[in-house]
Amino acid sequence: MDILNEYGDQLFAAFLTTLQLTMLSALGSLLLGTMLTAMRVSPVWALRTLATGYVNIVRNTPLTLVVLFASFGLAQQLGITLADPKSPTSITDSSFRLAVLAFSLYTATFVSEALRAGVNTVPLGQSEAARSLGLGFLQGLRYIVLPQAFRAVIAPLGSILIALTKNTTVASVIGVAEAALLMKEMIENTSALIVVGLIFGAGFMCLTIPTGAAFGHLSKKFEVKR
């Protein structure tokens, strides 16, 4: 209990950063993932190949490597820091934004795969009907196919969000002050490996179990009855 008293405020701040990382990356990966799916089902060969290549390469790369690449490759070698290098908080800002970028790039591949499975649940007749109404490819995708596809994959998207929440712990390798970084600090100071581990395990369950429940509920509610 002493540990909780001593680190209460820091725990709150660290989990807030975890939550921010998760939310921003979820948004980024949803946008990019939807775009990738559109490319993969598009009639243009080049777009399909590009998206397939991207998904297969990034999805099979360890996340730690993607995050390290953002910090070492982009920021240090190429000088792309995503923050004003003169600002007094440039390192903190830059690390956080690079982490969001890395998580978005990585998670987008999983969102894209889930969504592509969703597109496959939409009967072919739907897009044929859309075409016969005079809708183009993008219009058909936007008004007919994607809405149904999203409703079919709410539950898997929830799983991806849960995985993303836990994956944000990798950001500590480039020094983003989220939960896993505080965990290392607490273990260093208190040597109470098991107690600290349980605290953080419980913290993550507080974030992920409601997510799973909410997405389960939503997937039932918005299910397309066929």
Binding site: S95, S191, M205
Partner: protein, 278 residues
């Protein structure tokens, strides 16, 4: 049905609890002396710190910590060929010792009160202090105070030096944390950060491994006493290891080990430690 949500975390907690229980049961295993009498020791070191404990591509181990560990083992009557080296990362050190997975740990292990509650310390075998490493051509960073003005400092995630800088010096300096010290060295060499901090002997190890590229500056601004960690209740083992360290200092092997591993950095031989037989 509602209870289903509660069942999952409860099961996980039970599982974690039972794992903890198991590790507690095996903690009452052998002492250092008992292992040594069986002719075999398992020693925790680091595998990736130049100058202190590093695993060479050919599978041998080099460094000051390794030499100390070897000397102590030989005093306990164990040949080098009967030593199993095990990587002991900072976060794992206490549990490796408590679970009996290693006999003792020699890995830049600072003696402090929180750790003394979990393990016993022989030594100290080295007196280190926090310092700064900068690029060889840098002239404007001379100590922790000159980091003000938005200088970029690198340190290992969650480590004591990082916390010390955050608390006492970084009012105006920026702190970049990386998982491993070698990442900081790379960032320093590439110019992404201006300085890196940890204990002077570790920095000297990096300076020795990167001649002409990086250098140590300023005085040390903390005191770290490196000890050899072993099981908390192993009093006679601690006394034996203390004797071994004392004899290593007295017969000159201590200074020799320091010179051959850290000497090339130009870092002067520090004062000999006085063993604390608490």
């Amino acid at each position: 049905m509602k209870l289903k949500f509660l069942a999952a975390p409860a099961a996980a907690l039970l599982l974690a609890g039972s794992v903890a229980g198991c590790s507690g049961a095996s903690a009452k295993s052998k002492t250092v002396e008992a292992s040594a009498q069986n002719g075999h020791l398992t020693i925790g070191i680091s595998f990736d710190r130049p100058g202190l404990g590093i695993k060479s591509p050919d599978g041998t181990f080099k460094g000051f910590d390794v030499d100390v560990a070897r000397y102590v083992a030989s005093k306990l009557g164990v040949q080098e060929s009967s030593i199993t080296w095990k990587e002991a990362t900072p976060a794992q050190r206490e549990s490796l010792i408590q679970n009996g997975q290693v006999d003792y740990v020699v890995n830049t292990y600072s003696i402090n009160d929180a750790r003394k509650e979990k393990v016993a310390f022989a030594g100290p075998y080295f007196l280190a202090g926090q310092s700064l490493l900068v690029r060889a051509d840098n002239t404007d960073i001379t100590g922790p105070e000159s980091l003000n003005g938005g200088k970029k400092l690198c340190s290992v995630t969650g480590s004591t030096p990082a916390q010390n800088i955050k608390k006492n010096y970084s009012k105006d300096a920026q702190l970049q944390e990386y998982d491993t010290p070698s990442a900081c060295v790379e960032a320093l060499k590439s110019g992404a950060v201006d300085a890196m901090t940890t204990d002077d002997i570790q920095l000297a190890g990096y300076a020795a491994a990167n001649p002409g590229k990086v250098k140590l500056v300023g005085k040390t601004f903390s005191k770290e006493n490196y000890g050899i960690g072993l099981k908390k209740d192993d009093t006679s083992g601690r006394a034996k290891i203390n004797d071994a360290i004392q004899s290593m200092i007295d017969d000159g092997s201590w200074a020799k080990a320091f010179q051959s591993n850290i000497g090339p950095s130009g870092y002067a031989l520090p004062a000999k430690p006085v063993i604390d037989r608490y």
